[in-house]
Amino acid sequence: MSLIPGLGLARGMALTLRRFFQPKATIRYPEVQADIPPRFRGRLQLLYDEYGTLKCETCFQCAQACPIECIDMGGMDTKGRFHVHWGAAETYGERREESALRRSGRPVPDPAYTPFEGLDVGPVDAILEGFDHDPAHLLAILEGVQAHYGYLPVAALKRISQTTGTWYAQIYGTASYYAHLRFDPPVVAGDAPRSPDAPGTSRPGDASYLAGLGASLTGRPGGDA
């Protein structure tokens, strides 16, 4: 505050009067449109390649990474075997109705044609029991299932989806992402299911993580990890 009373007020008034005559900063919106920054990410867009084919492979990676779950998609898997769909059944149920699918040109599921062979899901249930039906250990479960059957049967995936409450498409996405997981039986005929040496079974997914967590929690404050 200055020594002369009112000088601060007068300087402020002078500033506003100067601004009165300066050019204005307003962007007159409908006539002048603001630039969209080059890295703008506000729009979802499906891209086409140079042959006019949709580039999207329905891998669900975008939908899985989307934190607010606003991406929803459906399509055929790469082998054209069955229709997969991302989205909660109760939310998007109407999109799986026959008429909706027919209108959208998607394949219509028909219970008369069984999309997968029946399977004894007892071993799957046992594996799930071992992991407490926790979808956080999805990869370990899938590896366990593959270790038992030699591949990932569709019925087993459906069973996992049913008992863990995880969307089938998420399981499919996880399973299709890893190279060592397969959907088809191994081409070498006649060999028995390989049990012990499947990769991934030794990762800290079972009871060992609890021990590790407990050990780290008793450690030095501030975290050493």
Binding site: P37, R39, G42, G212, L213, G222, G223
Partner: protein
């Protein structure tokens, strides 16, 4: 207007409590008899909102607060009040215009961000950090990625660290400009906020040219940042830096020497050192009380040890000191940006990491110095790709608890000055 505890003010008011005309109407007999019926509720004089809760007091403090003395009244400010910076609700107990006691009521913006983060994988949680403090989003992402980097034991490339500091300080300036503008707006001056917005718009456009968004940047990544600096950003930044200092300072002449503004703030909401420390204050508000505590120097992180800047401090601890300290910090931030531009090394901007991150079981705490104080993230990993526990530490929440120390004894108008100078953001408080 005085009421007894828990009693509706209109209970004995013949104007309000009238029978609804439909009560005597034969056509309506038998209808609208449930207590939940909105039409019956309407008859009970609900037109006047009373801050007294409808349930009996649950704690001693509540019983004491909701008992009115002689000549006192309640005033319910918010959650739609113009000066509460979001959806803060404050029940004030007034004696005339003097505040006897007040009670901030939170939770109108609660989204359960911590729980959402515990059900998302590490990359996804960064997107949840942005809307916490929507005017300084980068400072919410920063501790999260720092905590994950500690958990995963990742080495961040130096160029990425410099870019983080550069964008972070830009964001700090924009946040302080906004705080200064809204301080004036809460005291009735309508012009400074628009001058602030002109400069803030420049900064936000700058950040948009490298992050892609103007407000919720989602730019920091575990082990680096999402994309290198580009030509657009660098040319415009140089342009802006050449005139930023003079522009910001010329705009502050509107308030710094303004007698009305100074008198409204000097000696209002005085916080002494010890109480400030006891209230867990951090950031500019603490430094305005004379404690030179700044995480950038006290617990150095990123590349701040390599940069030369001062920690401005003021001893008064009142609203004016908190306002002026923000101006000093803007100057220091400009210095830091200048040094970042000169010292920035070449190299990659992201560490090489697998796409699916599974940290070892363990825990980590990381904190950064944001424009409002210390932003911290405490994350526990159980070995899966999702955090087992995710705790957000927000400075505004701790500043808000000192309302009961600062405001009583002052006028309603003083509370506006205190609230504006503390600069709380409700997105971070309610989480």
């Amino acid at each position: 207007m005085t009421t007894k505890t828990g009693q509706h003010p209109s209970a004995d008011d013949p104007r309000v409590i009238g029978q609804h005309p439909s009560a005597d109407d034969p056509r309506f007999i038998g209808l609208h008899q449930s207590a939940d019926d909105p039409r019956v509720m309407l008859d009970d004089g609900v037109g006047v909102y009373e801050p007294v809760p409808p349930y009996p007091p649950r704690t001693e403090r509540e019983a004491e607060f909701y008992t009115l003395g002689e000549g006192e009244m309640f005033l319910n400010a918010g959650p739609h009040h113009p000066a509460t910076h979001g959806v803060l609700r404050v029940v004030m107990k007034l004696d005339g215009e003097r505040i006897v006691d007040l009670d901030p009521v939170l939770g109108y913006l609660h989204r359960g961000v911590e729980k959402l983060c515990e059900n998302a994988d590490l990359h996804q949680t960064i997107a949840y950090m942005d809307p916490l403090e929507y005017v300084s989003s980068l400072f919410c992402e920063w501790p999260a990625v720092m905590a994950y980097e500690k958990l995963l034991d990742v080495k961040v490339p130096p160029r990425a660290e410099y870019i983080r500091v550069l964008t972070g300080e830009l964001n700090r300036i924009s946040s302080h400009l906004l705080a200064m503008g809204f301080h004036a707006l809460d005291l009735g001056g309508i012009t400074p906020i628009l001058y602030s917005f002109i400069e803030r718009d420049e900064i936000v456009d700058l950040l948009a040219s490298i992050t892609g968004q103007r407000m919720l940047f989602n730019y920091f990544r575990i082990g680096g940042v999402n994309g290198d600096l580009n030509h657009d950003f660098m040319s415009r930044l140089g342009d802006w830096m050449s005139r930023a200092g003079s522009e910001v300072m010329s705009n502050t002449t509107l308030l710094n020497e303004n007698e009305v503004f100074v008198r409204r703030n000097r000696g209002v909401g005085v916080m002494d050192r010890e109480t400030a420390l006891g209230m867990c204050w951090t950031g500019p508000n603490l430094r305005a009380s004379g404690v030179p505590f700044d995480l950038r120097r006290a617990h150095p992180y990123s590349v701040y040890p390599e940069l030369d800047f001062d920690i401005p401090t003021r001893s008064e601890g009142d609203s004016l000191a908190r306002y002026l300290l923000r101006i000093d910090e803007v100057k220091q931030s400009l210095r830091i940006i200048d040094q970042c531009l000169h010292q920035m090394p070449d190299g990659p901007v992201t560490a090489k990491l697998p796409r699916l991150l599974r940290p070892r079981p363990g825990r980590a705490f990381a904190a950064v110095e944001g424009p409002r104080g210390e932003y911290g993230i405490y994350a526990i990993s159980d070995g899966t790709d999702q955090p087992f526990r995710f705790r957000i530490h927000d400075p505004s929440f701790l500043h808000l608890q000192s309302f009961n120390v600062l405001a009583p004894g002052g006028l309603i108008a003083d509370w506006m000055a205190i609230n504006a100078s503390l600069d709380p953001i409700m997105g971070g408080i309610d989480k």
